[in-house]
């Protein structure tokens, strides 16, 4: 390798590393400011008043379920007990092969209702039946039984049949905090100049914690190392990444496991994209793009409180499969919206945020791999300053 190539590669890796490090540092600072602002603003809002409010925006919680027979009843009970005055729950049975639907029909006294066509703005798989409870206790429960089409397809069906102002997308196996809706609705209630097009909430890892009747009774540290690492990773992603971007209205991702959107905006963009496994990222980018095209002021916000608990992969195989899905989703979504790259028509999103995602979120794993290979090459050609290398490695160890 010529000295010029060496020089170029050295400078590239150092420059990339420094840029990544300082962008994380900046996001950490912004995240801190955002969290502080959030708590200041939320203490000024009386949650009890929201609870008692009669004129609140209506919310439909949409939870797709696929072969969740073991836990479906407990989870639905837990979801039904969420505190919010104007709330409906829609469970989508996405072609389950187990007895989930039978259990639901039996437990909640469900009865078939007339099959009407849902909103025409989006496409989804064939609906077999729609069920409503005959028991007044569960008046707000709807179960949609459809052919299997995947998560995005199931969510689209739920959105098409919802009639509320806001929709909250989650999974049937997630444990949701009782006051989650009260917290999630706050940004929508407080919005004045900018429309809130998406709101996300913190997601926590509940592996090895005690869950009783669909509610988290005691939070415990996961036993396995791989899950422990993910706890830190989630905290970094939500408290630093999401909150930091939220502070500068640069948030491009609201997690699919827990995201709230205004229904009319989701309909405008045709719902979740079924052609990508990163449907949550795609929807958020699409919503932002839609608002930019309409030249309407908007905001994507994040609530730092952990409002939703989920099970994280606890073995290497499922961990790799999850990360593979996320990486593919990212690549597919960035490809779908490649026209945003350095496109000033889309404001800060086109000029800075999208390029950041391409260069750092998508590019980092490739650069890191090349970096490792480069170090390996240096080590065999005996060109590494080992003491310095060790200091640097130690200081960056998490």
């Amino acid at each position: 390798m010529s000295s010029l190539t060496h020089h170029f590669l050295d400078s590239f890796f150092l420059g990339y590393g420094l840029a990544l490090f300082f962008s994380y540092a900046l996001l950490a600072v912004l995240g801190k400011i955002a969290i502080k602002n959030h708590y200041k603003k939320s203490t000024l809002v009386n949650k009890q008043a929201i609870k008692a409010g009669k004129d609140l925006p209506s919310v439909t919680l949409i939870a797709p379920a696929y072969n969740e027979g073991k836990t479906i009843i407990t989870n639905v009970y837990s979801l039904l007990s969420i505190q919010y005055a104007n709330y409906k729950l829609t469970i989508i049975n996405d072609g389950s092969e187990d007895d989930s639907l039978y259990q639901l029909i039996k437990e909640f006294d469900l009865e078939m209702t007339a099959l009407t066509p849902g909103a025409t703005e989006m496409s989804f798989g064939r609906i077999n039946n729609i069920y409503k409870s005959t028991n007044p206790k569960y008046f707000n429960l709807t179960v949609i039984d459809k052919v299997n089409g995947g998560r995005a397809d199931a969510l689209n069906a739920g959105i098409a049949y919802a009639t509320s102002d806001l929709i909250l997308c989650t999974d049937a196996d997630c444990v949701i905090e009782q006051d989650a809706l009260l917290k999630m609705v706050r940004p929508y209630l407080e919005a004045v100049d900018q429309e809130i097009i998406a709101c996300g909430g913190g997601i926590g890892i509940a592996n090895d914690s005690i869950i009783e009747n669909g509610t988290l009774k005691e939070l415990k540290t996961p036993k396995k190392l791989i899950t422990k690492i993910q706890v830190v990773e989630y905290m970094r992603a939500f408290l630093i990444g999401r909150m930091g971007w939220s502070q500068v209205n640069g948030l491009m991702l609201v997690s699919g496991a827990f995201g709230m959107y205004p229904r009319k905006r989701v309909l405008e963009v045709g719902g979740f994209n079924k052609d990508t496994v990163g449907e949550d990222l795609e929807l958020c980018i699409h919503l932002r793009k839609n608002m930019e095209e309409r030249k309407l002021p908007y905001k994507v916000v994040y609530i730092p409180d952990t409002l939703c608990w989920t099970e994280a992969p606890s073995n290497l195989k499922s961990y790799i499969s999850q990360r593979d899905r996320w990486a593919r989703g990212l690549l597919e979504t960035l490809k779908i919206h490649k026209d945003l790259m350095f496109n000033s028509k889309y404001g800060a999103m086109g000029k800075f945020i999208f390029p950041y995602w391409v260069i750092f979120e998508l590019g980092a794993p490739f650069v890191e791999l090349l970096g490792v290979l480069y170090i390996f090459y240096y080590s065999i050609s005996d060109a590494i300053n080992w003491p310095l290398y060790c200091i640097l490695l130690c200081s960056t160890l998490k």
Binding site: L14, L18, T43, A49, D55, Y188, L189, V192, L388, S395
Partner: protein, 288 residues
Amino acid sequence: MRLTTELIFIGCLVLIVAILLLWVVLAVTVWINKIKESKLNQLEKQVTIGLARSFKGPKKNKNFWLSNYFSSNEALWQFSSVLLKVLGLLHKAKAKAVHSFSYRIGLSNVIEKKLASSDWYTKAMAIQLSHELGLFQNLEKINAIANTSHSHVIREKQIAQVSFLGWKSLEIIANSEKPISHWQQLCIIQKLHKNHPVVQKKYFEKALLINNRNTTELFIRIIRSFELNEYKYFIENQLQSANRKTKDCALNVLPSFESNSFETWLNVCQANKSYSTKHESKTLSLQQ
């Protein structure tokens, strides 16, 4: 080449120092926050127990438990947020006792001073405490707060005005230069129901005459909440509004009246139809 190596070395050193500094800052922040949190938890616990004793226990024991926490104005200020939490859980009769209690312990003076704070959060909190604890003497100072202040300060100022002045204040609010959020509208209506349940039509009519888009939604919701059927025309007029939010609000509210005439239903249906047609054509043009 030598210069590049030196540059890389310096870059690495800067990186190491920055990371180490970050770790130190993080560790210190976590430590300080932990101490603060434990103190606040302790205070909350003591205040809750103490308040319960104060209302239930023998008179001679009243307030003995608080003396440790009132050493400074700052301690009292911190105590106020806890008091506010407790207030939210009490019935009206007990809440009155908390109001007089706040006078007794000198909290009202601290709140009055905080109204002059340059920090938006402290100021907004002081206004909120003023109207929640019924400190009417602070109204003059609250009224004097500039309309150019932080949006949360203005929001609390307007809620306080409604809380203290009731229907009279709607005329002032009708001149608001900034839009009123849904949340603020709910608070204002709640204050009217709680503190001024009797509608004073004279003032409300005056407010309605001021044609301000920023307050239209608030008035729509007040008409609905107090079932003021004679002002339903105001909501019906908004069905023709060019503003989508106002129109949506009118469309949502109007069908909920029990005494709707056939004409009202017709208006709602027409507005709904024209709205969906417009919306569809807009979507189509965007898709094309």
